[in-house]
């Protein structure tokens, strides 16, 4: 690990000022320290935000929840309100990492965790995300983990978070405070960026920005689930995952929202698939059509082609589960 200066922020203003001057924010540290040990990341200064007052889950206007950026993944999954009204969020959190890691991992840090692309982790390899302009070794290489949607000729990495997939389906917004005192709220689709020709820039955050919370609107539907497919039964990242929420009224699907993990540079959503399901009576044929629509625009990279049938089947299974009486 490269040497760095360490400061504990006593206030949000403190943290934003130091981050604006080039320090890297550290929360749980479970992703950042891993990457610093490998020298994939080598910040010259760290600012520890753990003592800031961002650790509460509060009821928000309109029946939603405001989750502080420092709420630990384990506390969020165990929260009574989350378990009752947003069970897919608890399920997604509990499907990620391990008990020990979830006790440290924070809401803000989880959103900003970096890709698990092997080449990103290997400093002997070119990687546009780690070293802009050096090339992408994954393209034409080992692509088992890589994206089906939204990739570019500069980067085909996936976002590894489970939590973020559930949050995207739940229409959560990220609350960001910036150094000039302005607070922004962004839906996940506007918060994350596609790789394009700047894969090292993963979100719209600028230095000095601090994630202060995640806002959940009132739960959209009672029927929710998070299904994760992985190489082993626990303590492994998703190959693909599906977060789904909908209701069934008078025998028809209403307000479906679906997000997909392990397949894009950000948790993926496809409005066409949701529109296809809206107002329709559940049926095996309908689910097959939705799944076909979803994968129609998939661009396999070789080693990840298996994710196309896997994603198709996982979506169908989720739709069956959600629409069973």
């Amino acid at each position: 690990m490269r040497p760095f200066e360490f400061t504990r922020a006593e206030s949000a203003a403190d943290a934003m000022r130091l981050a604006g001057d080039g320090a890297t924010i550290i929360a749980g540290g479970t992703n950042l320290l891993d990457l610093m040990k490998l020298e994939v990341m080598a910040p010259q200064a760290l600012v520890d935000i753990n003592r800031l007052d961002l650790g509460d889950i509060d009821e928000a206007e309109g029946g939603g929840l405001r989750i502080g950026a420092l709420v630990r993944n384990s506390d969020l999954a165990a929260d009574r309100r989350v378990r009752d009204a947003y069970p897919m969020l608890a399920e997604a959190l509990l499907a990620g990492a391990s008990g020990q890691l979830r006790n440290k991992a924070t809401t803000g840090g989880n959103l900003l965790q970096r890709t698990r692309c092997y080449y990103y982790y290997d400093t002997a390899m070119p990687c546009n995300k780690r070293e802009p302009g050096s090339g992408c070794q994954a393209i034409g290489g080992i692509t088992r983990l890589h994206a089906l949607f939204g990739a570019s000729e500069h980067c085909i990495a996936t976002h590894p978070s489970d939590m973020a997939v559930a949050l995207r389906a739940l229409d959560a917004r990220v609350e960001i405070q910036s150094q000039d005192g302005v607070t922004r709220m962004l839906p996940l689709g506007d918060f994350y960026r596609l790789p394009g020709d700047t894969p090292h820039i993963e979100t719209v955050l600028v230095p000095g920005d601090l994630i202060t919370a995640v806002l959940l609107p009132a739960p959209a539907g009672a029927r929710q689930t998070y299904r994760k497919v992985r190489d082993r039964a626990s303590y492994a990242f998703a190959l693909v995952s599906v977060a789904g929420v909908l209701d069934v009224e008078d025998g028809r699907i209403v307000r479906p929202a679906l997000a997909f993990g392990g397949v894009g540079h950000m948790p993926w959503r496809n409005p066409e698939v949701e529109a296809l399901l809206e107002g329709e009576a559940p049926s095996v044929d309908l689910f097959a059509e939705a799944a076909a629509r979803l994968v129609a625009e998939a661009e396999p990279q070789g080693g990840n082609a298996f994710k196309i049938p896997l994603l198709r089947r996982t979506l169908q299974a989720v739709l069956r589960e959600l629409t069973e009486a």
Partner: protein
């Protein structure tokens, strides 16, 4: 950089480079070598300690971030003369072979049982809104952050199940 913390009930001071992980501070600075370094990347659980009442991977935490914290390591759970209930159960059930993962397993299990008691759900809890049951499946899932190269898993689960208050189904 100076860090003051409580380790196994005693006040300790560490003077170390900020890069020092909690794991290295415990092993090298405080000579508490019960806590083990397996992978140093959060992937094996050998370094599990209990900080502020929560089990964590001490390899992925900086010592300087624990100023003022209370840390409990395997040395604080029991001694060869006075084993903790879980330590004693691991011996009786043959819950290890080489023993390298054992301190992490026992620290993890100690705190895990409190999480279970507090009603935290897990990935295998059928309905996350309901209280989890004490089953082999639940214990195995909750302990998945602790790998054992010797694969003593069945006996580890037996030991934990016994202490959790029920024999194996």
């Amino acid at each position: 950089m100076r860090t003051d913390l409580t380790v196994n009930g005693q006040s300790r001071t560490i003077e170390a480079d900020p890069r020092t992980t909690l794991l290295d501070a415990l092993r090298h600075h405080l000579k508490l070598t019960g806590t083990k370094k397996g992978c140093d990347h959060g992937q094996c659980g050998a370094c599990t300690v209990i900080a502020g009442g929560r089990r964590i991977n001490s390899c992925l935490s900086l010592a300087c971030m624990h100023d003022g914290d209370e840390v409990v390591t395997i040395e604080g759970l029991g001694t060869p003369e006075t084993l903790s209930a879980l330590q004693e159960a691991f011996v009786r059930h043959d819950g290890f072979q080489c023993g390298f993962c054992t301190p992490g397993q026992i620290c993890s299990a100690t705190a895990m049982l409190e999480e279970l008691q507090a009603g935290w759900p897990s990935h295998v809890t059928a309905d996350v809104a309901s209280a989890p049951a004490l089953t082999v499946e639940e214990v195995s899932e909750r302990m998945s952050g602790n790998l054992c190269r010797c694969s003593a898993y069945p006996n580890i689960v037996d030991a934990i199940m016994e202490i959790a208050g029920r024999g194996r189904a």
